[in-house]
């Protein structure tokens, strides 16, 4: 069981918006930054969002991140079939002095 909690799956129709939550505690999400990663089938994960809401170069603005307290959220607007993937949140745990991932959320674009 992951320390960071994500819903196992979400789904929405093309063109719609979906949000994925990531819940932690005061030792991790509540104390530092959250990152988000996208893993397309059969490929390595790719950084989507860093420092809660920063998009690396090349990531479309359809992807956005936010954080409030001990929870973070990834939002994807204008869903495309190519967005079908597993999404993971990541954070640093200051008590463990180690990194953490959420359990992952599978996005299905219906």
């Amino acid at each position: 069981q992951s320390v960071l909690t994500q819903p196992p799956s979400v789904s929405a129709a093309p063109g719609q918006k979906v949000t994925i939550s990531c819940s932690g505690n005061s030792s991790n999400v509540g104390q530092g930054y959250v990152s988000w990663y996208q893993q397309l089938p059969g490929t390595p994960p790719k950084l989507l969002i860093s420092a809660n809401n920063q998009r690396p170069s090349g990531i479309p603005d359809r992807f956005s991140g936010s954080k409030s307290g001990t929870s973070a959220t990834l939002a994807i607007t204008g869903l495309q079939t190519g967005d079908e993937a597993d999404y993971y949140c990541g954070a640093w745990d200051y008590s463990l002095t180690a990194g953490l991932f959420g359990g992952g959320t599978r996005l299905t674009v219906l």
Binding site: S2, G32, S35, Q39, P44, A51, G90, A98, G99, G104
Partner: protein
């Protein structure tokens, strides 16, 4: 261009030792943390360990402390992950990652090394 080039797939038996590698290029190897992430078949990502090659400082997830050893060679800009005694449950894909300073962000990922462990 930052690149993390990992060693090839391994097929091992339980009880054997193993070392996999990740050669970094395109940046100053001693300025960034580099580490490893495990993905077991059909499962999620697990943060394992990181090392700062410039300071020789390491951090391990409690789940992996004592199970693996991370190391780095500054002369070849290569990070390593080592097992002294493999178990069947070590079968997974292992991703090499670069960590941005000051946060949890893993900004570059290698293609992964598949480790199979079976008698």
């Amino acid at each position: 261009e930052v690149q993390l080039v990992q060693s090839g797939a391994e097929i091992k038996k339980p009880g054997e030792s193993l070392q996999i590698s990740c050669q970094a290029s395109g940046y100053s190897f001693t300025d960034f943390w580099i580490g490893w992430v495990r993905q077991m078949p059909g499962k999620g990502l697990e943060w394992m360990a990181i090392i700062h090659p410039g300071e020789s400082t390491t951090r391990y997830s409690p789940s992996f402390q004592g199970q693996v050893t991370i190391s780095a060679d500054k002369s070849t800009s290569t990070a390593y992950l080592q097992w002294s005694t493999l178990k069947a449950s070590d079968a997974a894909i292992y991703f090499c990652v670069r960590r941005l300073t000051g946060g949890p962000t893993l900004d570059y990922w290698g293609r992964g090394t598949v480790v199979s462990v079976s008698s």
